[in-house]
Subunit: 344 residues, 2 copies
Amino acid sequence: MKRATLRDIAQVLGVTVATVSRALKNYPDISSATKQTVLATAERLHYAPHPMAVKLRQQAYKVVGVVVPDIVHPFFSDVISGIVDVMEALGYHIILSQSNESYEKEIRVTQMLQATGVDGLLVCLSNETVSIDHLRALQEYDLPVVLFDKISPLLDASSVVTNDFQGAYDAVAHLLDQGYTRIAHIKGPPHPENTRQRFLGYQAALAAYGLPFRPEYVAECHTVTHEEGATFALRFMALPEPPQALFAVSDSVAIGAITALKEAGWRVPQDMAVIGFSDWSVCRMLEPSVSSVSQPGYDIGRRASELLLREIRQLREELPPEHSRVVLDATVQVRQSSLRPTAG
Amino acid sequence: MKRATLRDIAQVLGVTVATVSRALKNYPDISSATKQTVLATAERLHYAPHPMAVKLRQQAYKVVGVVVPDIVHPFFSDVISGIVDVMEALGYHIILSQSNESYEKEIRVTQMLQATGVDGLLVCLSNETVSIDHLRALQEYDLPVVLFDKISPLLDASSVVTNDFQGAYDAVAHLLDQGYTRIAHIKGPPHPENTRQRFLGYQAALAAYGLPFRPEYVAECHTVTHEEGATFALRFMALPEPPQALFAVSDSVAIGAITALKEAGWRVPQDMAVIGFSDWSVCRMLEPSVSSVSQPGYDIGRRASELLLREIRQLREELPPEHSRVVLDATVQVRQSSLRPTAG
DNA sequence: CTGAAAGCGCTAACAA
DNA sequence: TTGTTAGCGCTTTCAG
């Protein structure tokens, strides 16, 4: 079936397209008689406005682009879900792209998104991204960009991130508060700022509690896998004075460590307490259940969307777009793996 | 900065927009002299075609809509990833929506997608979906629809699904091949066809190996959570003649069961072998590592995309769209939890 | 080889 | 209250 146009309706009724257009969007000055007939025949012909014609006229697409490094990742699923919920409620749609952690691909997809027509962009930078000129180029064409999770201070744009420092600090403080004094950390690779902040939070918590930083209690991942978690757990166990507790940069590492500990006959948390980061849904399912720092992925998506929509609105009203930098707290989820058995 | 139009270029060079348009898409009849100057000034003015103007002319959007029940789900992440990879390679973009397993929302988002302008739709039906009239309506307007994962025989459309029956059959056969004869199943709720097929595969495997179907070895989930896995595992353990192996409808259920077994002092797989379904990434990280049936999510996304693109092409060429029904095999991933210790 | 002109479907200022 | 007209930016005949 061919879709009906304004002209089809106009011809049927012997009026002009302008009248039909006005009737359909109930303008003030329109006789209710013609309004009725127009609405009726529009209904009868299954009229629906041609999306592109409307968008061409209004110079607005009601679509925003979203770029994440990797769609297959629980954290980004949460973020995307938050974005979709906010956007859909306001009649916006999202176009999803992934950069596969490649700088070149990120440039390509952002340009493709601009070319396909979006009102704004929500971007999580890839780990490989070295320059943000491609995003600046978008801004030059009045395309607002909001960064989330992996951001760059070089770009003058709104951003929404997790407070990794605070999350890590709180996780370690939770261990310290229970009286642990020898706390190890398996840190991430040096590059992404996020995991570096977790390391800094770890150090800050130790310092705040007056404990020394012991380099032998720190290991650095390359792959951030459960295998590395296991390897480093074994290394810590072999120390002359092994740590009593472990803060891992991710849940995969924490789970790998717990597995290795148990296989070696150590009990968790009795012989070593463990806490991870990200709060994967399996943390709740394991035995012992795994403590973790929960990142507010859904809220990051919501907040970033709200900021972007605000900038889109401001731009349309020819106002100078305001930029905000939002930092959302992470929450420690205490479960069995980090709970010190009460003495006696 | 205001974006340049064809007219801007034309004015600068004192030619008409038609010439500029032709030069930019290097038409045969165009002097290489003007082509050069046009390309040069286009470059200089940072010309980029206005997306909506192009789409209005060509009556093609290069965008497809994707509807899933729930974005935050590892399986759908895989599917979406496959879709994005195929679509992006051909210059298509995807607009993502979720139905939240609500029939009403599914109707709403499919209509919104049509209204916003897409060339086709990839849809996984929600569990609540009772009628497919909303999809038939799309087809009436020459909007091709391809279903995946949760499909309906009522809609005359291409579809791509996992072979749940075969996956379940193979999982149970894997247990039977090792000599287990008492095999339990924790099945899903009756409604989604997918989990029902797993139950049928379980029964078929038992029958094929000449074993009786024992109702006391089957439990039915409502929530399909690890708690239910634990509950039913305990029930099975309490039987006068407990099963030796367990096939669970999902990994969450399998993990819950394993946890309960271990807490009760049963060893996995020595005292009860366990295999799940979906092959979550954590299966590999646990101790024992969890066997599972892996669903080809990424390939489902790829194949569905290819079918949809074919139908879009056929429709543009005024050919009758062909429909295909693709069923992709699931693969048993054997790990520790289901490996029978070799006697002796 | 290039220009003129029509038109994709819709909106909106201006007239009547 | 409705019609006329112009135009969003681009493509594509048809002339020249």
